[in-house]
């Protein structure tokens, strides 16, 4: 069937601002939105630019706004989004070209929360022990693929680019609730800041946007609570 795609395009070498372009693509209902973008790029207009790699929702390259909502283009099928389909770059990060945004500010925020295990104790020559119950406490936030769908769906982030954003807090959560980690104090100190977790206004956009089904808003609430308990 014919699908009508409206794509917000921007070429920094020739455009002063973005403009909508229409494409008619023949597609099956079971095809991924990414497959449609490829059909355009490969067989109609090679200049259409977007990021992609794994094509099944694990690498986090192709977050975009599809009919108003943040999704991974490789994880959504034609039959789930209707016709026409409107596609825009994710919001709140500078657009570089077409559906490609500058990810550097996003990764800078991620790095701010010390997203690595901190434990100075000599671990010995075998694994540190951790009970299945302790392991479960941070299971949800280990799933993050850093696609930025959550952060760029957040209304606070849209207006305050200094806010670390949901993804960074999710990655802090992954270590704060890991029984092996000893960096909680330092991380919570960072997240107590005016640009930290308390900027969250509990809009739940992030939770709806997460393609991995992480309870992002809950993770932010956990961090807020932990900060209050630790202060």
């Amino acid at each position: 069937m014919d699908i009508n795609l409206k794509i917000l395009r921007y070429d920094p070498e020739s455009d002063r601002k973005g403009h909508w372009e229409n494409y008619i693509v023949d597609a099956e209902p079971e095809e991924r939105i990414l497959d449609l973008l490829h059909k355009i790029k490969w067989f109609e207009d090679g200049s259409l630019s977007f990021r992609r790699s794994c094509a099944h929702g694990v690498c986090g390259s192709d977050a975009m706004v599809i009919n108003g909502e943040n999704m991974l283009a490789c994880q959504v099928l034609v039959k789930e989004v209707g016709n026409p389909i409107k596609i825009e770059p994710i919001r709140g990060l500078p657009v570089v070209k077409d559906l490609i945004v500058d990810m550097e500010p996003f990764f800078d925020s991620y790095k701010k929360v010390m997203p690595y295990l901190i434990n100075e104790k000599e671990p010995g020559d075998r694994e540190r022990l951790q009970s299945p119950e302790d392991r479960d406490k941070f299971e949800d936030t280990t799933k993050c693929i850093l696609c930025a769908a959550c952060t760029t769906s957040c209304p606070v982030f849209w207006t305050a680019e200094t806010y670390v954003g949901p993804a960074a807090i999710v990655n802090a959560h992954r270590f704060v609730f890991d029984s092996r980690d000893e960096g909680t104090k330092q991380r919570l100190e960072i997240l107590k800041d005016v640009n930290g977790a308390f900027r969250c206004r509990t809009a739940f956009n992030c939770t709806s946007a997460c393609p991995r089904g992480i309870q992002v808003t809950k993770a932010i609430e956990d961090i807020k609570r932990e900060t209050l308990l630790n202060s």
Binding site: C59, Y116, R128, S131
Partner: protein
């Protein structure tokens, strides 16, 4: 075209598991850069699911020698046994090290790392399936990639994200540096460096149905192959038995490790006929051939009788939710089936290259079949061929390979850099590449010579003629097709003429490597008149140890390959008939 020059002691190309592990080893000892065409966390290591084997013996008695036996037998005796010993022995410390760096492994009730069963892994040399694969639910690769990247962030490793390396400069046999193309700007970057590790991953995109990412185009092997470095064991390409029907998305062997069963259209558990003792947990080459045979004999399911079922319905919702959450989500997302209630349509999917850049056990690249070391150049992970996987890799051994030999690549870089002085690379080192890019941009675009059309014809023909079962006829036919495709590629054109994020230009260059990989694969397969591991010749159905206990080395020659051979390094395991 703007040209930017950098100077480093060492450069790592690729930021998946092997590249990041090498970086962790090398970064404290030199000025190091990691160059990746993606962002590090987008690398395909993150798509690995089931586990990473090591004889930790957390669940039952185990021993790294048994792991080595299984790896050698699984390889159909083509793996080099001294290298396999290193892999299996160092596996234990490699897993513990990842745990110490924070990898969130799933846990047993006693708090130790959980282990599960996987295809071809047994206790006591074949007695029964072994609990050997250490795992983090069914996203072990994701956790390895994240943990290694986190470690690199904590160490302050320098990354060049979204830079495509396109050339290596070697003068008088000595590495001078690499040339890269910056996607965001179209600028050319000359990296002066005397040590380079290629960790660019596989090349599954030579086939139509593949579990591989779009980015897996054999860049590292292609760059070296074009410089006259051979590619080893290219005829051995693994097809994973359980890809989602038509899409090829991987459904981990962990599904069968947890008790999943393959069934044909009549519901029969057909693996009982092909591997009576370990059934569905036979190695991947055997299971993929069994599926292909069931389909060709009319036992396939569906309107075109072209798939079989992976049945998880008897495992129960709790096991599925706890141990196989991601793959069952893939099924829900892409097939709209509830795996707790219905069996899943699957077919074999192109998955893993056993072959690649030849290296020794120190991850040093070899420039010929005699074992001559190419100074300053290293390779690790799927891009390399040590060889630890021989003719068929066992599940979980790739995640092991990337950390064990990634680390060794990093150590070798350190050794080399501390023993040598910096070279200087000429400012004109990128001239030929700039010219190639300019030519691509200047040429008028035509559909006939578009990247996508040539690539589509390549993938479809490789799928048809060089997949699970091969014959002299299909391979000769594919040789002719590849010649035509190469001729078309000589005139390849692109539509996009821009500088900023010109991914079509990158795809055009990747297609060159895909053609190289296909040419080497088909030439190597045509010359191997036997069936061994993943290489299955219907006209030579038996293994021939008299003539083919040897590794192939394909050297690029025009549009095909010139083949030479090197004997397999044997050890304590004598080749025997491979039965499970």
């Amino acid at each position: 075209m703007k040209i930017v020059k950098h100077s480093f002691d060492g450069v790592i190309v690729g930021a998946g598991g092997a590249g990041l592990r090498a970086a962790i080893e090398a970064a404290p000892h030199m000025k190091l850069a990691v160059i990746t065409k993606l962002y590090p966390t987008r690398s395909h290591t993150g798509a690995a699911q089931g586990g990473m084997s090591a004889a930790l013996a957390n669940v039952e008695e185990d021993n790294w020698n048994w792991h080595a036996f299984d790896t050698v037998k699984g390889s159909d005796y083509l793996a080099d046994q001294p290298a396999v010993d290193i892999l299996c022995k160092e596996a234990i410390d490699a897993v513990i090290e990842l745990e110490h760096w924070g990898l969130p492994f799933s846990r047993l009730d006693n708090g130790k790392i959980a282990q599960r069963r996987f295809g071809g892994h047994t206790v006591k040399e074949g007695e029964s399936p072994a609990f050997r694969a250490c795992y983090a639910a069914d996203r072990t690769g994701h956790m390895i990639l994240q943990t290694l990247y986190q470690k690199c962030v904590s160490m302050g490793v320098t990354f060049f994200d979204e830079f495509q390396v396109l050339d290596i400069k070697i003068e008088d046999g000595i590495c001078q540096g690499v040339i890269a193309y910056e996607l965001a700007t179209g600028d050319i970057h000359i990296f002066e460096t005397r040590a380079v590790t290629f960790a660019t991953g596989g090349f599954g995109k030579i086939f139509k149905v593949s579990s591989n990412a779009h980015s897996l185009t054999g860049d590292g092997p292609g760059i070296l192959y074009q410089k006259g470095i051979p590619l080893e064991d290219m005829e051995f390409y693994q097809f994973h038995p359980t890809g989602i029907y038509r899409l090829g998305i991987l459904l981990s062997e962990a599904a069968r490790g947890e008790g999943g069963i393959l069934r044909n259209k009549d519901g029969e558990r057909f693996m009982e006929r092909y591997a009576p003792s370990i059934k569905d947990l036979a190695p991947r080459d055997m299971v993929s051939r069994a599926i292909a045979t069931e389909i060709s004999e009319g036992n396939g399911a569906g309107p075109d009788s072209d798939y079989v079922y992976l049945d998880l319905t008897h495992l129960g919702a709790e096991t599925i939710k706890k141990k196989l959450p991601d793959i069952t989500d893939f099924v829900r997302t892409y097939v709209k089936i509830e795996p707790i209630e219905e069996p899943i349509p699957v077919q074999p999917t192109a998955h893993y290259a056993m072959g690649g850049i030849p290296t020794d056990v120190y991850s040093r690249v070899l420039s010929d079949e005699k074992g001559t070391v190419l100074p300053g150049v290293y390779a690790a992970g799927e891009a390399a061929c040590v060889s630890v996987h021989g003719a068929n890799r066992l599940g979980t051994n790739s995640l092991l390979d990337i950390v064990v030999f990634g680390k060794r690549a990093g150590q070798s870089m350190v050794d080399y850099v501390t023993q040598t002085k910096p070279n200087s690379i000429s400012d004109s080192a990128s001239d030929d590449l700039s010219k190639k890019i300019q030519n691509l941009i200047d040429k008028e675009h035509t559909d006939e010579f578009s990247v996508a059309n040539i690539r589509k014809d390549l993938q479809e023909s490789m799928e048809e003629n060089a997949k699970i079962f091969r014959t002299k006829e299909t391979l000769e036919k594919q040789t002719e097709i590849l010649e035509e495709l190469r001729d078309r590629y000589e005139n390849v054109t692109i539509f996009d003429k821009s500088k900023v994020h010109n991914s079509e230009l990158v795809e055009a260059i990747e297609l060159d490597y895909l053609l190289d990989m296909s040419e080497a694969t088909v030439a190597s397969a045509l010359a191997r008149n036997e069936s061994r591991g993943a290489h299955s010749r219907q006209d030579f159905p038996d293994r021939d140890d008299t003539n083919f206990m040897k590794h192939s080395f394909a050297f690029k020659k025009d549009n095909t390959a010139n083949l030479k051979y090197k004997d397999v390094e044997l050890g304590k395991y004598e080749p025997m008939e491979r039965k499970y």
